[in-house]
Every structure is written in structure tokens, then in C-alpha cells.
Symmetry: C2
Subunit: 187 residues, 2 copies
DNA sequence: ATCATCCTATACAGATTAGTATAATCGTAG
DNA sequence: CTACGATTATACTAATCTGTATAGGATGAT
């Protein structure tokens, strides 16, 4: 028993990433996961609930992984900030990287009153605040500005990497990030 | 007579931007445009053709507008590069800004063999090469690297601006871009 | 063995979608 | 006036999708 609920979650996550969310039917998910619709709707009351759960899981996985890396491998606040994009690169280029959910989700659900859009927007802001937190601890003057700039680079790079895998976008985003961070540290 | 074909094109462009491409039915488009499906299918053989045509139109409009601004208001190559994001900000914050098509399209059509994905990927690369061209004329050493970084900032900022209108993402992308450009000019 | 629980298998309802067929209507040129 | 091209109006097909209903297995505990 590997847990049917989790199996459905990871299968849906992979399919959403590779085929798109709206283009992935429930029938396809259960077929690939090796189960039936009845069990899917038992664990997740609707497709929308499943989408939200996939987003939550993916975001939590990333946040946990990143936070773990930063808290165990670095000590000083400025070092955390400087190594942030090293770990992001490690995450994005890892073979089991399955994309950043909230970027794709916000594009597929653009209406602001949509729950999926709201969650992805919230997750995007949460990640930005995480960088903001790192920047303030590193005594950056305009911490909010730097956080926004770095999150722009992050989202742009992930977008580019999704559009063409192995494009090396992350590498250049990393050098740009270091440059921006070093510049902000001097003030 | 305002031209039915154009009316359908702009209507579809707006709806795709605000509601998403896959979530916008052909019936909705013709209802808003004030025509019928028969005329739509007369001008555009299929919904996919319409999507492609909307993408082409939007990309061409942007490229023409930007190129015009740069060629009339600036003369020196380095000045063009430095004012690039000023004009991008002007474009993005203009009231009739209807998004950057290829960013949303590539998210909604992730399969690489899909014609819509291929066109949007091609347009993204075309924009990057345009910046590359500006950078080489300004005698930037690593012109390709800078072009990639600036396009990352551009796509990230547009993405953020789409996610939350008036977020000011463009403003911070602009300062980051100027910083990166100035840094690259010193070598 | 029996019973309950979890899962499967399959069929179906109801809604939505892209695309087509057909007939009616309008404006305009000759 | 007539004839023609363009557009409308409407109904339809065929496919697809979410969600449900119903019946049948499998397994494990008591």
C-alpha cells in the first residue's frame, strides 16, 4: 500500500505540469494513477479541490526543502541571501523538478475571484515575503524592492525553463541575482 | 464598417487575456464581438488558427510600437538599451495594455508539439534576440547573457503585473534592468 | 464464515465545447 | 427591380468533460 491519495496527488501534479491543468481530464489522471474516478472523488470532492491540494503540496514541498537547505548549510543572514539562488538552481535542475505550480495555475485561471487563482497569487506573495524576510535579516536597506526583483528573476527563470527545458535560464538568473544582492548590500 | 475580422481579433485578444484561452469559448467570442460563428469560421478556419492570429497580431503590435519608440526617440546604441525598460513600462502601464500573449499561451499549451506553444516559444526567443541585438550594438561583452537576464526580468514583471494589476513590479524590474545594464557596460 | 470497509468496473446524466448545415436577411451594384 | 455577396439566425452533430449511481470484488478482523 503506497497510499492512493498520495499517488493521485503526484500523478495529477505531473500531468498538470506536462499537459496543462485544464487540458488534463479526471479520467486521464485516474487512468495513469491506476485507480478509478470513484476513489478520486472520495479523497477529493471535486477537480478544483484536487488542483488546490496539488498546489498546496507542491508549494509546501518547495518551501520545506529550501528552508531546510538554508538553515542547515548557512549561518549568517547575508550568506543565506547570497546562496538562495544556488539552491533554487539545484531545485530547478533536479530531475524530479515538476515545475512551480502557482506560475502555471495563475495563467490558466486568470479570474481574480477564482479560488485557484487566489491560492496561487497568495503563494507567489508568500515566496516574495520569504525573500523579503531574508533581505531584512541581512540588513538590506530596500528589502522589499530587492525581494520583488529577485522574485521576478525567479518567476521569469522558471517560466523560461518550463518553456524550453535546459535553456540555462537559471544560470543567468543566478548571476543577475548575485549582482543585485551585492549591489544592495553596499548601501 | 470597422472590419469584422479585426473586431473578432481584438475581442478574442481581450477575452483570452481576461478569461484565459482554453476557458474562452467560440460562442462567447462571437457574442461579445456582435457576430456569429459562421463569420468567425469564415475568417479563421478553426479556433487554433484564431489563437495563432491573435498571438501574431499582439506580438507584431508590440514589436512595432517598441521599435518605433526606440528609433525615433534615441540615437546612440547605449541609450537605446538604457531606455528600453522605460518604454516597456510605458507599454505595460498603458490603459489598453492587453497582456503579453506568448507568456500566457505557453503556459496554457505546454506540449512542445503544439503549434500554439511553438509560436509563443518562437516569439519569446525573437524578443530575446531583439534585446541581444541592442546589447551587441552597445558593445556589451556578454550580450547574450545580458539579453537573457533582461528578458527574464521582462517576463517575470509581466507575469507579476498580470497576476496583480498595478503591483508596481515593472518599476522594480526597471531599476534592476538599469543596474544590470550599467554593470555590463563597465566591462 | 460473516461482515464491514475499501476499491474496482462500468454505465450514465448533464453540461459544454468545436465545428457544420441550412435557410433567411440585408445592402448594394448593375 | 434584380441578382449577388456577405452576414445572420438557428438548429444540429459529435466529442469531451465533470460528477454520480449502482453493482460487484477483494481483504482483514472477529
Amino acid at each position: 500500500m503506497t497510499g492512493l491519495r498520495e499517488k493521485i496527488l503526484t500523478t495529477a501534479s505531473n500531468l498538470f505540469q506536462t499537459q496543462g491543468i485544464n487540458s488534463t481530464g479526471v479520467d486521464t489522471i485516474v487512468a495513469v494513477a491506476g485507480t478509478t474516478k470513484m476513489t478520486l472523488y472520495k479523497y477529493f470532492g471535486s477537480k478544483e479541490v484536487l488542483i488546490l491540494e496539488v498546489l498546496k503540496q507542491g508549494h509546501q514541498d518547495f518551501q520545506n526543502w529550501l528552508n531546510d537547505k538554508l538553515s542547515t548549510n548557512t549561518k549568517q543572514p547575508t550568506e543565506k541571501l547570497q546562496k538562495l539562488f544556488d539552491y533554487i538552481e539545484e531545485w530547478v535542475t533536479s530531475p524530479d523538478f515538476h515545475g512551480v505550480g502557482f506560475i502555471k495555475a495563475s495563467a490558466e485561471f486568470p479570474k481574480e475571484d477564482n479560488p485557484v487563482h487566489q491560492l496561487s497569487s497568495q503563494q507567489s506573495q508568500q515566496f516574495k515575503q520569504y525573500i523579503h524576510h531574508l533581505a531584512t535579516e541581512a540588513n538590506i536597506k530596500d528589502a522589499e524592492g530587492l525581494a520583488l526583483q529577485l522574485s521576478l528573476l525567479f518567476e521569469g527563470a522558471v517560466q523560461a525553463e518550463q518553456m524550453k527545458r535546459g535553456s540555462g535560464a537559471i544560470k543567468y538568473a543566478k548571476t543577475a541575482a548575485k549582482f543585485l544582492i551585492d549591489g544592495a548590500l553596499k548601501h
